[in-house]
C-alpha cells in the first residue's frame, strides 16, 4: 500500500492559491513568496514523478515501518460500547505519524538542492522527527523551541542533539510553540536560498497545508482498506485529535468522499472552553490570520494571539490547519473539545484495557470516542464501528502522566 502513498486520489483540494473556501492562502512577507512558489513547483513535479513516489514509498515501508496496523481493541471496545479499531501510528519509527511528513519534506529538500532544514517544535516531537530525517539525509538541522518548552522537555532536547541537530531556545514573547514558529519564519526569510522550513503540521502558508496533508494521507488510505478487509465495510465514524491537525487530515482525507462515514476532530479543551484556558481554536476561537494562513485562531478583540493551554504539548497551539477550518465551515467534519481530565481518563483506560500507552494528544481522540460511542449507537440502533487514529505513543508523556496521576515516587 505505502509503495505508492502519493498516488493521485479523489478528495478535496484547495484552489491554485491554496484557499480552502474562505481559509488558507498566503499571508507572508513578499521575501518568502519566491521560496513558497519554488516549493509548490517542486512538490507538484515530485508527486507526478514515479521515482519520487517510489522512493517515498520505500522509505515509509523500510524505514518508518508502515503501513501501520489497524488493531481491533476488544477490551477497550467492551468498555466503550463500540467496535473500536486503532490505527497504530504509535508504532511508526520515532513514535508518531509525523515521520511520514518529515521523510516527505526531507526528500523534497534534497530534490530542491537545499542543504539545511529548520523546524519549530513545541514538545519536541516534530523537532525529534526532523532531526531524525536530517540525520538520515545528511542535512544541517536547526530546531527552534520556546525556552519554556526546552526546560519542560529536556529529554527531547537531548534526543535532538544526539541526532546532530542544533536546538535554539526562543526567548521572545510567550517563549512557547508560536514564538518558536515566528523565529523559524525569521530564520527562513534570512536564509531562504539554502534552507527549507520543514513545518510540522498541515498549517502555514500555501503549499504547506495541502502538501503536509498529502504526505500523511497514507494513514487514511491504509486505514480505509484495512477496515474493509477486516470488517467487510467502512466504519461509521473516524476520529482523531486536532492541534495543527495533520494526523486528523491524514486519516480523514481518504474518507471525505464516503458520505456515510462521520468525521470527528477532537480539540484540546484544556480546563474547559468556558474557562478560556484551552487550545480549541475551532470551537473556542474565531477566524483570523496567523503564521501565514487564514484559519481559526485564539485571539483577543484586537486580533492579538492568545496563549493556548493544554496538558498535551502537541495540541497546545492557538491556531489550526486551514483545511480543518473549511471542513468545519462545510459541516463535513465535526469538531468538539475534550478537556485535560477527559483525555487523561481515556489515557488510563487504554493503558489498563489494552496495554498500550498512548500519546496524550491521541488520548483526546480516545476520550472523544468514548463520549461519541453511546450517541452513535443510539442513532444507528446498533453497535457502531469507529476507527481512531492513535497518532502517537506515550513514552514522551510518562512524566506528565505520572505527575497527573500522582504515581511518581517522591525524590529521596
Amino acid at each position: 500500500m505505502s509503495a505508492d502513498a502519493l498516488a493521485p486520489v479523489a478528495g478535496p483540494q484547495p484552489d491554485s492559491a491554496g484557499h480552502f473556501g474562505r481559509f488558507g492562502g498566503r499571508f507572508v512577507p513578499e521575501a518568502l513568496v519566491a521560496a513558497l512558489d519554488e516549493l509548490d513547483g517542486a512538490w507538484r513535479t515530485a508527486v507526478a514523478d514515479e521515482s519520487f513516489r517510489a522512493e517515498f514509498g520505500a522509505l515509509l515501508r523500510d524505514y518508518a515501518g508502515t503501513p501501520s496496523l489497524l488493531y481491533e481493541a476488544r477490551r477497550f471496545s467492551a468498555k466503550v460500547g463500540a467496535r473500536v479499531l486503532l490505527k497504530r501510528e504509535d508504532l511508526n519509527h520515532t513514535g508518531a505519524h509525523k515521520v511520514r511528513n518529515v521523510l516527505g519534506q526531507a526528500l523534497l529538500t534534497k530534490r530542491m538542492g537545499k542543504t539545511r532544514v529548520i523546524a519549530e517544535t513545541g514538545a519536541g516531537q516534530h523537532g525529534v522527527a526532523t532531526a531524525t530525517a536530517a540525520a538520515l539525509f545528511d542535512l544541517e538541522c536547526v530546531v527552534y523551541m520556546g525556552q519554556v518548552d526546552t526546560e519542560r522537555q529536556a529529554l527531547n532536547v537531548a534526543r535532538m542533539r544526539m541526532l546532530g541537530a542544533t536546538v535554539v531556545p526562543v526567548t521572545n514573547g510567550s517563549r512557547t510553540l508560536k514564538d518558536a514558529m515566528n523565529e523559524a519564519m525569521r530564520d527562513w526569510v534570512a536564509n531562504v536560498d539554502e534552507t527549507h522550513y520543514l513545518i510540522g503540521t498541515a498549517a502555514g502558508p500555501h503549499p504547506f497545508p495541502a502538501m503536509v496533508r498529502d504526505f500523511v494521507r497514507g494513514i487514511g488510505d491504509e486505514a480505509r482498506q484495512q477496515c474493509l478487509d477486516l470488517t467487510g465495510g467502512l466504519p461509521d465514524a473516524v476520529t482523531a485529535c486536532v492541534g495543527g491537525g495533520s494526523n486528523a487530515l491524514g486519516i480523514f482525507h481518504a474518507f471525505v468522499g464516503d458520505e456515510a462515514v462521520r468525521l470527528y476532530g477532537f480539540e484540546a479543551g484544556g480546563d474547559g472552553v468556558a474557562t478560556g484556558r484551552h487550545a480549541a481554536s475551532i470551537t473556542g476561537g474565531s477566524a483570523g490570520v496567523l503564521h501565514g494562513t487564514r484559519t481559526f485562531v485564539l485571539q483577543d478583540a484586537d486580533g492579538q494571539t492568545l496563549e493556548s493551554h493544554s496538558i498535551s504539548a502537541g495540541l497546545d497551539y492557538p491556531g489550526v490547519g486551514p483545511e480543518h477550518a473549511w471542513l468545519h465551515d462545510t459541516g463535513r467534519a465535526n469538531y468538539l473539545p475534550v478537556t485535560d481530565d477527559e483525555a487523561m481518563a481515556a489515557f488510563e483506560l487504554l493503558c489498563r484495557t489494552e496495554g498500550i500507552i498512548p500519546a496524550i494528544e491521541s488520548a483526546h481522540a480516545l476520550a472523544g470516542t468514548v463520549a461519541l460511542a453511546p450517541k452513535l449507537a443510539a442513532e444507528l440502533g446498533r453497535e457502531p464501528t469507529i476507527v481512531v487514529n492513535l497518532s502517537g505513543r506515550g513514552d514522551k508523556d510518562v512524566h506528565t502522566a505520572g505527575d497527573y496521576f500522582g504515581i511518581l515516587d517522591k525524590e529521596r
Binding site: R186, N191, V192, D302
Partner: protein, 257 residues
C-alpha cells in the same frame, strides 16, 4: 497626489532622500509614544511610520519585538493607535501606518480604513499582506483615499515586482536585505539592485529600510526604538531620540559627510 507623494517630491526637489522614522504605537506608553514621535518630527524626521504592535511580528527583529511587547503589556489597543496617529498627524507631518494583517482584519477592514483616514493617516505598509490576498484592502483603501505600500524583496521575480508596484500607491517599500528589521546587510549590492529593478517598473518613490543614498526615502526603525529602549528614563530616551533624529536628518541632507 497623496501627502506622502508630496513629501517625496519636496525632498526630491531639494536633492535629497526623504527620512522616515518608525516607532511602535504605545511604546513605552500611549502618551510616551506621541512624545517620541513629536520629538522625531521636531528634530527633522520627514515622515512618521507608526507600527501597530502585534503579538507575532515575524518581519521584525529583536529590538522592535521588545518594544511591541512592552506596548502590548501596557495594554495598548488598536483604538489607541488611531488616537496616536491623530495626535501625530496634527503636527502636520505625514503619518503612515505599518501593520501586520490580523489586527486590521479583526477591526474590520473597511471600518479600519475609515477610522485611519479620519485620524489623518496616509495609508498602510503591510508586511504580511501581498496583493494576491488584498482584495478587501484594495477596495477599502480606494473607498477611503488611502495609500497602499506593499513590500518588494530581492527575491521577487520581475513579474511579481511589476504586479506588486502596480498595486502600490504613495510609495513602494523595498526590503533591503533578506531578513528582519534591524538586520545588517549580508550582501551590500542586493538593495541598490532591487531599487533599480523597481524603478524600471514604477514612477512611485521607493523607500528602503536602510541608510542608503540611492533610494528616494530611507526608513529607520530599530536604531530609533533602541534610543528609547536603552534609556534609563523617558526624558533620557527623548533626548537620545532627538540627537539621533537630527543626525539622520543631517545625513539625508548632506549624505557625503
Amino acid at each position: 497626489m497623496s501627502r506622502i507623494g508630496v513629501a517625496f517630491d519636496k525632498a526630491r526637489a531639494d536633492g535629497r532622500a526623504l527620512l522616515v522614522g518608525c516607532m511602535p504605537a504605545g511604546f513605552p506608553t500611549v502618551e510616551g509614544s506621541i512624545a517620541a514621535m513629536t520629538a522625531m518630527i521636531e528634530a527633522g524626521v520627514d515622515v512618521i511610520e507608526v507600527e501597530i504592535p502585534y503579538s507575532d511580528p515575524v518581519m521584525d527583529g529583536p529590538v522592535i519585538q521588545r518594544a511591541s511587547d512592552i506596548a502590548l503589556a501596557g495594554g495598548v489597543r488598536t483604538a489607541d493607535t488611531m488616537r496616536i496617529i491623530e495626535a501625530v498627524a496634527a503636527t502636520g507631518a505625514p503619518v503612515v501606518t505599518m501593520t501586520y494583517w490580523n489586527p486590521v482584519e479583526r477591526y474590520g477592514v473597511d471600518v479600519f480604513a475609515r477610522d485611519l483616514a479620519s485620524a489623518g493617516g496616509t495609508g498602510l505598509i503591510t508586511p504580511d499582506l501581498i496583493p494576491d490576498e488584498a482584495d478587501e484592502w484594495l477596495a477599502a483603501s480606494d473607498a477611503h483615499g488611502l495609500d497602499r505600500t506593499f513590500l518588494v524583496s530581492p527575491s521577487s521575480t520581475d513579474a511579481r515586482l511589476a504586479m506588486t508596484v502596480q498595486h502600490c500607491r504613495g510609495f513602494v517599500y523595498a526590503t533591503a536585505v533578506m531578513g528582519v528589521t534591524g538586520a545588517r546587510a549580508r550582501t551590500s549590492d542586493a538593495a541598490p539592485t532591487l531599487v533599480s529593478r523597481a524603478r524600471a517598473v514604477t514612477d512611485l518613490p521607493i523607500g528602503v529600510g536602510l541608510r542608503a543614498g540611492y533610494a528616494d526615502g530611507v526608513i529607520v526603525g530599530s536604531a530609533l526604538v533602541r534610543c528609547v529602549l536603552d534609556a534609563p528614563t523617558e526624558a533620557d530616551g527623548l533626548a537620545a531620540l532627538r540627537t539621533l533624529s537630527a543626525e539622520l536628518a543631517e545625513g539625508v541632507r548632506n549624505p557625503t559627510r
